[in-house]
């Protein structure tokens, strides 16, 4: 469980996050949604410790990230896995070497065991066949799947995904979403996903935090989205005609 308490962050006097409070539950896919520039990525960077907030606390199972020493932080980092918007794979390493990288760095297992673990992770994302290819030789969706394999290599407790579907077609996005959701349940991780993909919201949003201009505007589940009365949330989620129709149909069915 990750608790965010009264997080505030500003850049050059401009407030980007304003007093955000939220609890990201264990074994669930927690979504942070909001328009571009609303502060989603900044919030995630504050949670993982890439940025330091001016105010507030980030608690990882009651361990305060901001009050930790170097050693404690290092230990915590080994419990984290992150999937970046650009996948952030190391260009000079093959797919297998990319997944093995955190194991090589931190695991005391033998080389054979490390290879076996990396191959298990690649198999989990259905990419065992591509293990000898380089990131430049595989598609964007495959790169994201390699990033997922690398993120779970050390068996993390916390998984962070920064817009995992950006630049992917709807079908591949669905595959990535399902993969993240399955892995979260399978390994009982606390997963936080930054997204503005509505398919993800409707598909895997066990818990949703909606941020509007740096502050918490609404929170709930994917089912509650349809009945939510928050105007800003509705304007954001049901911005497209198609989704507006889906909402109307959903509400009609409920009334029947």
């Amino acid at each position: 469980m990750i608790q965010v308490k009264s997080i505030s962050k500003s850049f050059e006097g401009k407030t980007v996050l304003d007093d955000i409070n939220f609890t990201f539950d264990n074994g669930k896919t927690n979504l942070i949604i909001g328009q571009s520039g609303s502060g989603k990525t900044v919030l995630m960077k504050c949670i993982v410790g890439l940025l330091t907030p001016e105010k507030g606390e980030v608690l990882y199972d009651n361990r305060n990230l901001l009050g930790m020493g170097k050693k404690e932080k290092k230990t915590l980092r080994k419990e984290m896995g992150m999937i970046f918007q650009s996948a952030a794979l190391f260009d000079s390493l093959s797919v297998l070497e990319n997944v093995m990288f955190p194991l090589d760095m931190f695991s005391n297992d033998t080389y054979r065991d490390r290879v076996r673990r990396a191959q298990f992770c690649l198999d989990r994302v259905n990419l065992l066949d591509a293990q000898n290819k380089y990131p430049g030789e595989i598609s964007g969706g495959m790169q994201k799947r390699v990033a997922i394999a690398r993120a779970i290599a050390l068996n993390p407790q916390y998984l962070f995904c920064d817009e995992p579907n950006s630049g992917l077609d709807p079908k591949t996005s669905l595959v990535i979403d399902e993969l993240i959701h399955d892995i979260t349940t399978e390994f009982n991780m606390t997963t936080i996903i930054n997204t503005h993909d509505m398919n993800s919201v409707m598909g895997i949003g066990d818990s949703i935090l909606y941020i509007y201009q740096g502050h918490k505007e609404w929170s709930g589940t994917k089912d509650e989205v349809f009945t939510a009365t928050n105007e800003r949330l509705n304007n954001f989620i049901f911005a497209s005609d198609l989704l507006r129709k889906v909402k109307t149909e959903e509400n009609k069915n409920k009334n029947l």
């Binding site: 890439l50 932080k73 080994k78 896995g81 190391f90 990288f101 090589d104 760095m105 931190f106």
Partner: protein, 255 residues
């Protein structure tokens, strides 16, 4: 006006401060020596072995040109014929194979380091390392500094050798002077210390090239334009610092 004062006075101090802090992170204890050693070997190849070609090529032609220029400009009945070889050797040993060769390397290696690290920053590869709990500054920069500092004495030797071969070629193939006179001049009044001076200076220059370029690459903020700017800044700054430290080191070592 305030902006001009900031650019002239505050900005360089701020950059120096950030550079020192980054070097503090770079020279911290490595997490896993095996992984660092792998990177180090990789950098020996990338920064050192890959530079041998350009060093040999440039040194060969500069050695030949120095020889021709000296022959043409100081030839006189009052001047012994071996002076051409003697002067060529002194120029190669004292300045060209250390300072000028490092200026050339600042262009090749410096831009390579800055753009590599800059791209890693822009594509979030450095963030990925940080999230894993790895000291990215140390893991990425330390092997580059040590790799270049290991290879630079060899590059200096190759440069001196290629320069002398270039000078001999002017005698053998262009026939501008007698090879025996050139050989006598090259050996005349040889001072071994000059070779060591060249090595010492080049070690300092290698550190400047690798660390300054790495600083500009590592601290890139933005997109591809910032990577380009960082690459230019890396080459310009390391070249200026090489020239300045050459002045100081020459005075300290030879004065």
């Amino acid at each position: 006006m305030q902006q001009i004062i900031f650019d002239i006075m505050i900005k360089p101090i701020s950059i120096l401060g950030k550079y020192v802090i980054l070097m503090g992170r770079v020279f911290s204890r490595p997490e896993r020596i095996r992984m660092y050693f792998k990177q180090y070997v990789n950098e020996l190849y990338q920064l050192g072995i890959n530079s041998i070609g350009i060093v040999l090529l440039i040194s060969f032609f500069i050695g030949a040109v120095i020889c021709i220029q000296i022959k043409l400009n100081i030839e006189s009945p009052w001047m012994p014929r071996f002076v051409v070889g003697y002067t060529t050797r002194e120029i190669l040993l004292l300045e060209f194979s250390s300072a000028i060769m490092c200026l050339i390397l600042a262009g090749k290696v410096g831009s390579n380091i800055a753009s590599e690290l800059g791209t890693m920053r822009v594509t979030q590869q450095i963030d990925a390392l940080e999230i894993m709990g790895i000291n990215s500054a140390s893991y990425l920069i330390l092997p580059k500094i040590l790799g270049l500092m290991t290879m630079i004495p060899f590059l200096v030797v190759f440069s001196i050798f290629a320069g002398i071969v270039g000078a001999f070629c002017t005698a053998w193939f262009a026939g501008i002077m007698n090879a025996t006179d050139l050989e006598y001049g090259l050996q005349y009044c040889f001072i071994e210390w000059y070779i060591w001076c060249s090595f010492i200076k080049s070690l300092f220059f290698a550190f400047i090239i690798a660390s300054v370029s790495a600083y500009f690459g590592y601290t890139v903020d933005g997109g591809s334009i910032s990577v380009g700017k960082a690459s230019t800044n890396a080459v310009v700054s390391s070249s200026v610092l090489i020239l300045f430290s050459d002045l100081v080191l020459t005075q300290l070592l030879m004065g």
